[in-house]
Symmetry: C2
Subunit: 419 residues, 2 copies
Amino acid sequence: METFVNVPEGSHFPLQNLPYGVFERPDDGERHVGVAIGDSVLDLAVLHERGLFEHDALRDERPFDRPSLNAFMSLGRPVWQAVRERVTRLLRADEPALRNDEALRNHALLARDDVTMLLPAEIGDYTDFYSSKEHATNVGTMFRGEENALKPNWTWLPVGYHGRASSVVASGTDVRRPCGQQRPDDNAPPVFGPTKLLDFELEMGFFTGPGNALGESIAVEDAEEHIFGMVIVNDWSARDIQGWEYVPLGPFLGKSFATTVSPWVVPMAALEPFRTGGPEPDHEPLEYLKESGSHAFDIHLETAIQTEVMNAPHTVCRSNFRYLYWSMEQQLAHHTVNGCNVRPGDLLASGTISGPTPDSYGSLLELTWRGAEPLDLPGDAGERTFLEDGDRVVMTAWAEGDDHRVGFGEATGRVLPAR
Amino acid sequence: METFVNVPEGSHFPLQNLPYGVFERPDDGERHVGVAIGDSVLDLAVLHERGLFEHDALRDERPFDRPSLNAFMSLGRPVWQAVRERVTRLLRADEPALRNDEALRNHALLARDDVTMLLPAEIGDYTDFYSSKEHATNVGTMFRGEENALKPNWTWLPVGYHGRASSVVASGTDVRRPCGQQRPDDNAPPVFGPTKLLDFELEMGFFTGPGNALGESIAVEDAEEHIFGMVIVNDWSARDIQGWEYVPLGPFLGKSFATTVSPWVVPMAALEPFRTGGPEPDHEPLEYLKESGSHAFDIHLETAIQTEVMNAPHTVCRSNFRYLYWSMEQQLAHHTVNGCNVRPGDLLASGTISGPTPDSYGSLLELTWRGAEPLDLPGDAGERTFLEDGDRVVMTAWAEGDDHRVGFGEATGRVLPAR
């Protein structure tokens, strides 16, 4: 299956992917839903206006002529599938409708370099889970000691918390070093100032589709119907602020200053070929969390750091989405089992995804073991325990096919000095 | 100062109050912003259309012809003040513009009994603090023992957490008893089922105005500019679900099934006469939380329960907003000190407001001391430890003036059986 659009070798966006994003057109400043293909973006609002989507549910809707994916997410999986099939067809080398219409092509196919990518959804609520056993164990060991590392509830339910939706930003947004209370000396009062322990957290997240009404729930076997697609998430963390504030109500200002997401939402249909088994559970879960089949995905994850004196990012962590103990379906079933309603465009993130080996740990906290083992950076760049001003963090993710990659692009952000 | 509209004795809504709400008109189903006066609601969209608001900021906006207060909240305090002055004037007995225009009056003044009240804002983010020292001490004692009750951070910062925005509902919405994991026996696996420990939490909350950009913060002395007004909040809680899930990331499903708010947002200008001092702090706070003057408000709070066999609600708790240790300004300054952005329509709640005496405790958990001391209900209604199906919880709040009350109306909800 080939497309008439040029897709460079190693591109994250071949015809097999077709992720959705929201972008601003350089010509008229309009904000539309588009699909990435190679180095281009295909404007779905333009195609829709030309009558190229014939699905009933789309006839009276304008889900692509919008500054967010929420309306499209709300339409549900049959519509997502129909649109995906239609876009695939229109981009195929043997389909003339778009290929041979030069005026349409010029208007609908834009260079990705020329457009500004925006946050893909208006996020009603953002939830962050804690679903990597390796991460929970590492952090628990450091914060509470080895014996108390994994709390008794951890293997029974996907532990999670409500995050801050307002400060979720699109990739490329600079991140201001936060100020806050810290208590470096347990025998002295806390102090106020810029965080000294600024960290990244390598995560993946998914956006929800139709969702459920308040008081109802989504069964684990139906959860797929409500998972629109996935993005990379960098859950920036200020460890000193977090460590002082988090008992007993959980993380708050140590996280709420910024969360970066990649701009392209990879649909679950594109990830289907990469479905695989996850870790063996420690014990059977309760009935509402039981599922059969394979619910993990083989998605390679990397985090790189580029300091101000470096010419290119240096990879400091290689992990994989399949390490997660709890699946997205289990997370969604758990989240709604009490009747909590999920709406189109909600973001549910995995928590830091650490693997079994030290080079697969998804945060500097773990990679440097709370600063005890600094990371060596190449050349004259010295070493890092936590992030310094000017550092750029680059996260990337992809699933490796036979002769192509289904990728997520990047989630990047640069650290600005505290105000 | 009198109004030509009838205000019954003891009404929560005299001319001194003028709270804002969103309602659905019975005639055309339109959703507008209105103001409560006596037993009536004044439709501000109708007045605006008639050209009765002349403020520059309102000329090209239609902030009242909307299904939420967010647009009006975003305009800022000078506009709020101008609208309040205008509405006060229009309702005065000595002002003919509305009083003498029968057609306008019939269209703009509706019986409150005839309209449906809606959630006052589209809540972008909902934050719940934990700012009553008595409540934090009571709950901490029960969950972690007396010595560990108040964590060391509590007197240094307003502890809070992100709540779930999607499940905040308007007063009158029934609340389905949630299901979830509980672990009644520490030596056995957890079990799944309807919560056995369903509780209310008596809180107050405030909606934010313009807010701050990401990376900036709101100084404690500027916080008032961003506080639009207050509502009653019932933060329904499932204590068994909460107790099992909340370590280490805080409350999640034990709270996210429903949060009820009263429909009328009382503007801060109406509460100004009831400003008073709060509790003496245990020690000086850090600089960014320091404030001079009085920042508490003398607002009387009550919670009543009406079971299915009772003819009227029975008051089980009498508390006061002035018991809170941390002020709203301190909460907002703390929330944004790390650069976290607050948007118009965000809801920041106080946490349960318990007073010093046992009859002032703001939750059944505290009132019955975790079920050990059941509450006696009148007549044949028996006793209560936690809420049972069919129970209706009624919260009310008012500030007592010389010859009038500035009140909040009610926040009510009835418990439906688990699904």
